[in-house]
């Protein structure tokens, strides 16, 4: 049994010091014991089995592991799991509601904003946070906001279209409601 994470059990007394944390993950509170060195990305992927959050590089450059940390994009490979104690984390799995996709998700599909799909979850979460803050961004603002997420397949043009399209749809939805 690995000591990096474990759901809390009576025999949790291990030689390696662990910390008990409670993390809100896509709206659910989870309590786990983690080794301090466990990265948030690994807690999400291996502990919570939410594998939509990907890890792509070692140096905090690629952004494939981007999640929303209290609503703000963060590279989850560069946050310790213990630091998420008492915080809310949103992953790609939390983007859609039970019945429908988020407009950003629809936009990525409609505009062919993805190819291999590896960067897509991080890219979409960054886009969502941008639109939460700025519902009507310019193309330059979208490109700037996405400049911490690398995509190797698309050349970004369709990603930018997807985000602008999602922005328009969200404005329409919010205007209508």
């Amino acid at each position: 049994m690995t000591s990096l994470f474990s759901e809390v059990t009576p025999e949790a007394a291990n030689e390696v010091a662990v910390k008990r944390i409670t993390v809100g993950i896509n709206g659910n509170k989870r309590t786990v014991d983690v080794e301090p060195r466990l990265l948030l990305a690994h807690l999400i992927r291996q502990g919570f089995k939410l594998t939509g959050t990907h890890t792509g590089c070692d140096t905090t450059n690629c952004g494939a592991c981007t999640v929303l940390f209290d609503g703000v994009p963060a590279k989850s490979c560069t946050v310790l799991a213990v630091q998420a104690n008492g915080h809310e984390v949103t992953t790609v799995e939390g983007l859609a509601s039970a019945s429908e996709l988020h407009p950003v998700q629809e936009g990525f599909k409609d505009e062919h904003g993805l190819q291999c799909g590896f960067c897509t979850p991080g890219m979409m979460l960054t886009a969502k946070a941008l639109l939460d803050e700025n519902p009507d961004p310019t193309e330059d603002e979208v490109r700037w906001a996405l400049s911490g997420n690398l995509c190797r397949c698309t050349g970004y043009q369709n990603i930018v279209k997807a985000v602008l399209g999602a922005a328009a749809k969200l404005r329409e939805q919010n205007g209508a409601s």
């Binding site: 690995t2 140096t59 799909g117």
Partner: protein, 793 residues
């Protein structure tokens, strides 16, 4: 009632991608997402030195760490005859080093532990004692007298030369040069570049003792080749090996070769009888896995005064790293380098090519390129521009003058390839109009008066795609065909499997469109599967833009086989003879009574419920497609740039692409491929930089130094199309995946060189980093990017 092909998602429909439904939900299934019961984790110890003798390896401390299950070294691999493995180019490669390390990052030991953190701790605890040796980082050093022999493990290898090869007509070319008005010369280095998919390589080996079956989940673009290779290397029976390539986070050629990590994870699983997962880190990926390019050119064009090319001479020297592991299937030592000048009507040409071992990572062909055509087309287009400059003629005009004419196909290229079809002039004119060529030239002259440096660069090329045909292309003797298997169920729904393997190209979407085109079954009624060798038909995988030319053709052909059987069933159902049955999309009808017909779905139903006497039941088949020739798409890329003369920083003003890839299955996906390829072209031209210092240390070993473009600086692209069907492909398609990566770089470089016209510089090696551009501009001489890099002592 005729079926609207676009509505059923047939040929030409920009159908939204099926695979996106899981990717946008984070429900993709990449190798690292797979968790098996009892799974262990492997990490690799890599050499910090580029060239050194291993004196000793002490693994005692690693074994002492709680949670460590196995520590493997080269010695232990050797005891099982697995310290070395064959490469795809008939060389050998070390799995774990035994005698020497031959490049920085080479695999030296591996640890298998309960979790990857512990495995990494144990890797850090392994002590390797090295005796450093001088490192070789370029061909000049490799061929120098007294150079250390890198491959002293090999018999009959007294030096660092891998091959010395030539092709073309030497005497005829000599005569052309003797008769030339002008000889234009250019020397340059196409730098090493890494494909760098965002997902690194990895595997999970799972050996089941009770069944003796080995299942390997693996990041591979070519699962069946891997199965054959594993059978050879691990001496396991092929039917007891199952390779599963799940969703791939990009490939670009990086995931074709067999890497030591795969082999070690397999042995570890066999020894431990537990699943073993290995996920490479980014540094490991960048410093040890298949790269692209690293070729030096001395090029000469024999020219008539008006710009007509009379002959071509190319001398290349290629740096293959420590092991000759080019993943390329041609019988030619330097791949398809001699596809150069295929779009120009050149009477004679000669190419010499020498390959060398160096103390750098092995590889050499991978990276969104059909086996050296990226270098070939870059060299070609840089030489053509230099010739235009030397002659003082317009860079569009020199191309017009030399293009193969539309009525001159099939055309024999100067090196002997046979190109299929094309409308080169039309593509060029379309590109020139889109970019506003004449206006830009005026604008450029105006700007120059104000000290501003504007430039325009053209790159036009046709490249060979779709290896093979089986006469000329094979991998370890396995012929380069591809395959498809189609099962039409009784309700008219279907499952299609192919021997290809998508890494983002969207096969699940486009293959169904080909079936829809051939059979009239709506694309949404067809599920596509690839990547599992237990279920997919044997195929050679996806790289070299070969999926559409080869596997896509197989999809057409298997659909036609199904249609042929369905026709017999239709005749039975319509109670007429087969000769009286006509086909329109999705339906057979009686020629003399067109209202009397049966749909393909009704035929499918009958195949299981109402079989003609004597007919075998069912509606399933497969097809193996051996292409008669390569396909030859054409592209014209034009970029305009502005250089800041005080810093050397340059920006792309506009970029226009005209692609003729034959018939387009899904225009949306084709355009996605082009934009992605242009971005990688821009990346190579501007920033992607992996190089070495004089000790063989890799510079560019992580994403802080190996820069991929972001959304911010990636230019916008304007795309145009011309369609010249491929005459020998069942649906006229030619393939598109790599055109823009192949043809794109020269457009950017030619544009920057055009802006520098008059400064006295003829060439700056890629990437055109600001300091190099500034140096070229201010010092008026060529700027080499060849390793070793210049550093302060």
């Amino acid at each position: 009632m005729t079926i609207d092909e676009i509505k059923i998602g047939g040929l030409g429909a920009s159908r939204r991608r099926v695979e996106d439904n899981r990717f946008i939900r984070g429900a993709g299934n990449y190798v690292d997402d797979i968790v098996l019961p009892g799974m262990l984790h492997m990490e690799i110890v890599r050499s910090p030195l580029a060239h050194a003798r291993i004196k000793s390896i002490d693994v005692t401390a690693a074994w002492a760490i709680p949670g460590v299950r196995l520590v493997l070294t080269g010695e232990m691999m050797a005891a099982r005859n697995l310290a070395w493995m064959p490469t795809l180019s008939y060389d050998t490669q070390a799995v774990l080093a035994t005698d020497k390390v031959r490049f920085q990052g080479q695999e030296v030991a591996a640890v298998i532990a309960d979790d990857p953190y512990i495995a990494k701790d144990a890797c850090e605890a392994i002590i390797v004692d090295y005796e450093p040796l001088p490192a070789i980082v370029n061909p000049t050093q490799a061929m120098a007298a007294g150079a250390p022999v890198i491959r002293d493990d090999k018999e009959n290898q007294p030096d660092n030369v891998i091959f010395d090869w030539d092709v073309g007509d030497k005497d005829g070319t000599d005569r052309a040069f003797a008769a030339a008005d002008v000889v234009s010369e250019l020397e340059l280095h196409y730098p090493r570049s890494h494909p760098s998919p965002i997902e690194t390589c990895g595997s999970i080996a799972d050996f089941d003792r009770s069944t003796s079956k080995l299942t390997v989940y693996m990041t591979t673009q070519a699962p069946h080749i891997i199965r054959a290779a594993v059978a050879l290397v691990a001496e396991l029976p092929e039917h007891m090996i199952r390779i599963v390539s799940p969703d791939l986070g990009g490939g670009f050629g990086n995931k074709v070769p067999v890497y030591p990590g795969y082999v070690v994870s397999i042995l570890a699983s066999i020894l431990l009888e537990r699943p073993v997962k290995w996920i490479e880190d980014k540094t490991g990926n960048l410093i040890s896995t298949g790269f692209g390019r690293d070729v030096y050119l001395k090029g000469q064009l024999a020219l008539r005064k008006d710009g007509k090319i009379l002959g071509v001479r190319m001398q290349t020297e290629s740096d293959h790293g420590a092991f000759f592991s080019d993943a390329q299937p041609s019988k030619f030592k330097i791949g398809l380098m001699h596809s150069a000048f295929a779009c120009y009507d050149v009477p004679t040409a000669h190419l010499t090519s020498r390959g060398f071992y160096t103390n750098k990572a092995p590889g050499g062909v991978a990276y969104r390129c059909s086996f050296r055509v990226t270098e070939a087309m870059f060299f070609q287009e840089r030489m053509v521009q230099a010739a235009a400059d030397d002659l003082g003629i317009d860079q569009a005009e020199i191309r017009r003058l030399n293009f193969v004419r539309d009525d001159d196909f099939p055309h024999r290229t100067p090196f002997g390839f046979l190109t299929d079809s094309g409308q080169y002039g039309k593509c060029l004119e379309m590109g020139l109009e889109a970019i506003g060529y004449e206006d830009f030239l005026k604008q450029k002259e105006e700007a120059k008066k104000n000290g501003r440096l504007l430039g325009i660069g053209i790159s036009t090329m046709t490249e060979p795609l779709g290896a093979g045909n089986s006469r000329e292309y094979d991998i370890l003797g396995i012929k380069m065909f591809d395959s498809a298997e189609l099962r039409v169920h009784m309700t008219g729904k279907a499952i299609l499997r192919t021997g290809a393997k998508s890494q983002g190209q969207g096969h699940e979407t486009t293959w169904a469109q080909i079936v829809a085109h051939e059979l009239g079954i709506p694309a949404e009624d067809i599920v596509v599967e690839e990547g599992d060798t237990d279920t997919a038909p044997f195929g050679m995988g996806t790289y070299a833009s070969r999926s559409t030319p080869v596997a896509g053709a197989a999809v057409s052909m298997v659909s036609r086989k199904i249609r042929a059987k369905a026709r017999k069933i239709a005749a039975h159902l319509l109670e007429v003879s087969e000769e009286d049955v006509e086909w329109e999309l999705g339906r057979f009808f009686v020629r003399s009574a067109p209202d009397l017909g049966v749909t393909i779905q009704e035929c499918a139903n009958a195949a299981y419920s109402n079989i003609p006497d004597g007919m075998e039941p069912g509606l399933e088949n497969n097809a193996y497609y051996d292409p008669p020739n390569l396909t030859w798409p054409f592209a014209c890329y034009i970029a305009t740039v502005e250089i800041d003369p005080l810093t050397g920083v340059w920006d792309v003003l506009n970029m226009v692409a005209v692609d003729d890839c034959g018939v387009r299955i899904n225009p949306m996906i084709v355009e996605g491929q082009i934009m992605g390829g242009l971005t990688e072209a821009y990346a190579m031209a501007s920033m992607q930089f992996i190089t070495f210092d004089s000790e063989g240390n890799c510079v560019g070993s992580n994403y802080m130094d190996y820069l991929l473009p972001t959304a911010w600086e990636t230019p916008g692209f304007e795309l145009h199309e011309v369609v010249t069907p491929c005459p020998h492909h069942p649906i006229g398609a030619k393939g598109i995946g790599e055109c823009a990566t192949v043809g794109g770089p020269a457009a950017f470089v030619n544009a920057v060189m055009d802006a520098l016209q008059g400064a006295g510089v003829r060439n700056i090696d890629m990437p055109l980093l600001p300091d190099r551009v500034y140096e070229g501009l201010t010092e008026g001489r060529d700027v080499s990017g060849a390793p070793p890099i210049r550093t302060d002592a």
